[in-house]
Symmetry: C2
Subunit: 463 residues, 2 copies
């Protein structure tokens, strides 16, 4: 009989969904992967085995009759092995099958200082071994969901007719003008002008570069890295992160909010369907309200209230004895996370768009409303997190935009951006989702350092 | 009757594939988009109209009976408009339908210095208006294929069980040690150590960072930006570009070549099926051998010959009178594009893997073969282009790798990379595809500046 090379993923799939013929073909099978634990009871031993293709591991059973028993018996946590085995169904057990080992080859041994031993490790400890932590259960789940969520994002936009645009990372402008940029210089001269002949920095947003594409393709999106040289040492800030920035021509603020709602719901439903084992794990180990919370959002109508109404509700709440760390609620203030969470968690008890913010606290490109005081912005607030998405209708009126840009002094450097308002401009809108924060939201993970493969934060770069 | 808001894409889809009920619903329809050309013959006028959702434009027909005839008559190339119209099928004409305009609103006018007028513009000219060129036929085709090809790449890897990893852009190492890196400094101090406490640069490859993930998930890939501060002013070099870098545990050079072949074929077939109008355009306007060439590759068995055989063939060719700019063919040399193209175009007349290169001309991480002289590398060469993909089996033997890294002096800085060979390492392999070059290959476009949204090349950065 021939040997079938197989992965854990396909093994589970065939045992749970395959027909008899497929199962019979696994009478002699070959697996390659790593030892999670090994326990030899003298005459019978058990290896908890993974090959990284599926969240669930496979139990290998070996006995004195297995070839290379001495190799099997000595296997250490982390070792790479090749196994020749036989599938044995165990429908009466918790695990639906096990593999009886016929032979074993040690592909790669493990030195004794291997940092992952059979005990629970803190996230802090694991952050220091970012190259090893993908082997742990938590990070197997985090990074698989990260991968699937990335694909869900592309799937949503591509199947809704959006064109993916790779906006540049090295740029001459600093987007919203916040100033926290990294400069890019050549290694030899350190002269910021030397390579391109102009001072350049890493992008903080792809929006300005993608807007011209919306005015050519109607619906477009970016999905790529962005950078902020902020020394914010919080659980939600990283200096390098991935952003999703859709932009739609002939769309207003309401169209924008509809796409945001559809996108968030699509991503949640996609992950729940595609990563059931991982999501069960997060719900058990990280946050036992996670799945309920996500399902609630996926099935909720997203409410809308204006910033001005929001302020009134918060002022009323303070009057009624609600305690905030920042209890001074005035129209024109930037809301803190505690205020946003009060509105979404206590007031509407579900996802909430806050709209039409004071123009002074929002970016220059947002469209000024008729009241002369607010702009057509929308932030999506969700329970347990606060702000998840920020968007706006863009200022399409050339004269209005020019005046605002002259005031902050970026009209000359962004003359090409202004062009889009002179050459067949039209109403348009877009939004930004911090991908890492979206991933934190759908996994329940609490620190951005624990959802990025190699997190980059202030003072911290080992890899 | 209600007005149906519709896009060009859906309009073509319904006319070509819809049923009578769907077609009837378009008796009154609304379109939003831009004027490509406008020709008023006095009593009847024609607008060539696009909204960016489909490669083909739509013909709008207006008469004196159309509301706002004066607006219609005065429409300039590039203007943004909203149209109320009626679908009229024209099965006897080249275009299967036209839209009879009932009413028109000018959404955004065009100033007289609009750079795209009704004539052909050179690619050189268009490069200077990267924010406007997405509106031209060529760049509508290029950027749509770019988007679809990106999705094809994700589709291929995700559906083959690969985990997508966002490797970092800011890093402390320079990958293969070629030295052409951009340094990253904070804007205020310009001190390269100030933000992270260490000197950092922009990544040249994600491979070193993704290998540890292959040793946890088996099959993984990156797809993101990489940077080279090379002053090469060629049609194939950009300082910022997107790379695809898959990595597979328990895979050798042959497994690697199989995945490369499958991936390239999948991408070609995907684009031909998903972008037929764009591909027809490229075949007509850019390179009339394109589709034939791509179909040939998609249907070919990829041949394999060793570097050593390749050298012998080239030496024989020189003897037989074949002229090369570099006619001195010696074992150990780095092949030039002319040599690669001779092998793929003249010798095997199809896609070709060249394997087992001299170790001196390849990177430190490639696995040394038993001969002690070559490494298990493979470059995929294709007609009309030359090298399209480069890959290798990785050196998994700790001692061998350590010695090589000590020699070039990166063993200390990459101690974490060496760890992967001490902790359950195993044979593994991977490859890299320059995404922009793959896009050039499938579109026939000849200059990397014409496939990137905002190309970054030496001395050149406007946006």
């Amino acid at each position: 009989m021939e040997t079938t090379k197989i992965t854990n993923f396909d093994l589970y799939d065939i045992v749970l969904n395959g027909d008899q013929e497929e199962i019979n073909a696994l009478d002699t099978l070959e697996l390659e992967g790593w030892v999670k634990t090994n326990r030899d009871n003298g005459s019978i031993g058990f290896v908890d085995f993974t090959d990284g293709t599926y969240f669930k591991s496979v139990q290998l059973v070996y006995t004195l009759e297995s070839k290379n028993y001495n190799v099997l018996s000595a296997l250490k946590t982390g070792a790479a092995i090749k196994i020749l085995g036989k599938l044995v169904l165990t429908p009466e057990n918790k695990q639906p099958f096990e593999i009886h080992v016929l032979d074993c080859t040690l592909e790669g041994d493990v030195e004794d200082d291997y940092p992952l031993q059979k005990k629970r490790h803190s996230f802090e400890f694991l952050r220091d071994i970012a190259h090893i932590r993908p082997r742990t259960n938590t990070f197997q789940a985090v990074y698989r969901v990260r991968s699937v969520l990335s694909f869900a994002v592309h799937d949503f936009f591509q199947n809704n007719g959006f064109i993916y645009v790779h906006t540049p990372l090295i740029t001459t402008n600093d987007g919203e003008g916040a100033g926290n940029v990294f400069d890019v210089v050549t290694h030899d001269t350190k002269d910021p002008n030397s390579f391109y002949g102009r001072k350049v920095n890493l992008t903080v947003t792809g929006q300005l570069h993608v807007e011209p594409f919306a005015l050519a393709f109607r619906n477009v999106y970016t999905f790529g890295p962005a950078f902020r040289a902020e020394h914010s040492n919080t659980v939600r800030h990283a200096s390098e992160f991935w952003m999703i920035e859709p932009e739609m021509a002939f769309a207003d603020l309401n169209d924008n909010m509809q796409v945001i709602e559809d996108c968030v719901k699509f991503c949640i439903n996609y992950i729940l369907a595609a990563c059931p084992e991982e999501m069960k794990f997060f719900n058990t180990m990280i946050d036992n309200t996670l799945i309920e919370r996500l399902e609630h959002v996926a099935n909720s109508e997203f409410k809308k209230i204006s910033y001005t109404e929001g302020i009134e509700i918060l002022q009323e709440a303070v009057k009624n004895g609600v305690k905030f760390d920042n209890p001074k609620i005035d129209w024109g203030m930037d809301l803190q996370s505690e205020h946003e969470r009060y509105l979404t968690e206590q007031v509407v008890k579900g996802p909430l768009f806050l709209t039409n913010y004071p123009k002074e606290i929002k970016a220059f490109y947002m469209r000024e409303n008729e009241d002369g005081k607010t702009v057509a912005a929308c932030d999506l607030l969700v329970p347990a997190v606060g702000e998840l998405v920020g968007g706006s209708q863009r200022e399409e009126r050339y004269d209005v935009l020019l005046k605002k840009m002259q005031k902050i002094g970026n009209d000359k450097e962004l003359d090409w951006y202004l062009d889009t308002r002179r050459y067949g401009g039209c109403k348009h809108a877009g939004f930004g989702i911090g991908f890492d924060r979206l991933l934190m939201y759908v996994t329940g993970m609490q620190n951005i350092r624990d959802v990025q493969p190699y997190p980059r934060t202030s003072g911290n770069i080992k890899y």
